[in-house]
Amino acid sequence: MRDGDARVWHVSGEFAARYAGGTLPEPDAWSLEKHVEDCAGCASRVSDAVGATTAGTVLAQVRAAVLETVLDPAPDPVPETAPTPVRRTAPERHPVGRTTSERRPAERTAPGRRPGRPTAPRPRTRAARSSPRPPGSRLPRLLWAAGPAVRGAWLPAVLVVAAGALALAYGAGLPGTRALLLAVAPVVPVTGIALSYGPHADPLHEIAAATPGGGLRLALIRTVAVLTVSVPLLTLTGLLLPASGAPAAAAWLLPGLALSLGSLALASFIGCRAAALVTGGGWLAAVLGPVPVASGDAGGARLAEQLSRCLDGIGAQSAWAAAAVLSAVLLTARRPAYDRPLGR
């Protein structure tokens, strides 16, 4: 594409050293980077120069350490390669630069790469790329993979529920806030599960459905991710709210678990979304149904009363525990249904 280009210069040794040292002016660095995309000779000269810097030495050490860890039978599949802050100083020859030259740009340029755009990868990013794994930020991505809900609209919704409850209680001075939070809390994980698993929620679902790990195992991992976020957050929020006749802040935990497992079991028949509507909707109808709409303090008292019936006492909590166990048993029995995409 650039055969007719009148570019005649090549990267001199001094130029390469200044680039590696980070002292080359920005426009010159860009031209150099553009040039080495097509010129293998200059690319190797520049990569040697970069390899000879302290960064190169550090990289070689990191590489050796990583290789040692990887080849070591002791299971540590995720070697830590934290980005070491690097000061580039006077070049000292070091027989490295392999990691850099292995990715010689002129050899590796993808066919679809757009020419003419200053991609401007700084020496720093080149060095980072040469490490076998991108460093840092693994935990958020793991959470991400664990549950699409945890990054979508669901997480902000949970935060809004928690913050809203605190604002209602302490800002507006509404006395029945804990009862309201307890009424909503069990629905939160149920919605989270519906937004985490299944063809409508997971963009990777079609691919996952053809893998051994894409069935119930994945659904359960995502349920755990959803519960890990919602249980501490909503329980702590409940603890911060004045009781005013409502059940204890932890009273929703067993119903929340039972409804979550019930949702998963039901989803094996009718799909995740419909299952969440049935269990979550059923709970809300049972708790909020008997309470007259918008009747202020009296409504709050009625809600607290109704919640007490559903949550307070050994009888109610044992019933929820039994429901959770039953749901778990049913889910185990329905496990094969998760082998194929669930109903939409």
Binding site: V70, A110, P111, G112, P134, D202, P203, A210, T211, R340
Partner: protein
């Protein structure tokens, strides 16, 4: 020795019959799945990928019956599948995406980094391995899809329209990759680009209205086309249309006879 063995397969898609008493045996090599839109190509690939449940018939892959949970799990570990349309998590880099699928496929953790590197290199994305998938062009995203399909070195590889969105140069590279994969695995490629089949496939299966209309080598289809005067710019295209017409004529003839 066939790695895919299908007998009496029937699949309903909504109200219509997508596949009708289909018998098919496929062994090592690259098998092109041709046919007009709605012929049942995607339905067949989804059943072979163990994603869709057949309404009737038996599907045996790598000696395992896919109707059984245990057999299905075994098959899935050794399967690669590229759906016609697939999503990705936009925050993921190419490497993370492919590693995630490797995890789903139960590739042992210590082998994942190497397997990912190899798959990404094979599709020519080594220099973009740390780029976010959402920053890539359509053709590159498709290559990421191919990388996730081959990350577990599958014995059976199912690709639904893999060349859609690839430019001519990438298609040429992709066909070379297909030929290489086909030396050790059973590769099934659905496409409606006849030239892909001519260039990369060792065998052609032509589907029409849920039934097998033709099976043979691309060369045989080309010879058929040279002999016919049907429409088409290349002999193999003429062969394709000639076979389709003959199959439809035979089908309607058979229906007449039943009446």
């Amino acid at each position: 020795m066939n790695s895919i063995h299908v007998t009496g397969l029937r699949v309903r898609h909504r109200k219509t019959l997508a596949l009708d008493s289909l018998d098919l045996g496929l062994g090592t090599g690259v098998h092109g799945l041709l046919g007009p839109n709605g012929a049942g190509k995607t339905s067949l690939i989804r059943v072979l990928a163990t994603v869709a449940r057949p309404d009737a018939g038996r599907v045996e892959i790598l000696g395992e019956d896919t109707a059984e949970h245990r057999g299905r799990t075994e098959v899935r570990r050794r399967l690669g599948y590229l759906p016609q349309e697939f999503g990705y998590y936009p925050g993921f880099t190419v490497r993370e995406f492919v590693a995630y699928v490797a995890w789903l496929k139960e590739v042992p953790a210590e082998r994942v980094p190497d397997a990912v590197e190899r798959a990404v290199t094979r599709v020519g994305l080594a220099d973009r391995a740390d780029a976010k998938v959402r920053t890539l062009s359509g053709g590159m995203v498709r290559r990421v899809g191919i990388a996730q399909a081959i990350v577990n070195d599958p014995a059976v590889l199912l690709l639904d329209e893999p060349t859609a969105g690839l430019d001519p140069e990438q298609r040429v590279e992709f066909r070379a990759l297909l030929r290489e994969l086909g030396t050790s695995a059973t590769v099934v490629v659905s496409t409606h680009l006849v030239e892909d089949v001519a260039a990369a496939c060792t065998e052609v299966t032509l589907l029409d209205a849920g039934r097998v209309a033709y099976r043979g080598t691309p060369e045989a289809l080309t010879v058929l086309g040279e002999a016919s005067d049907g429409p088409g710019d290349h002999p193999i295209e003429r062969g394709y249309t000639a076979v389709l017409r003959a199959h439809r004529a035979a089908g309607s003839g058979a229906r007449e006879a039943v009446r």
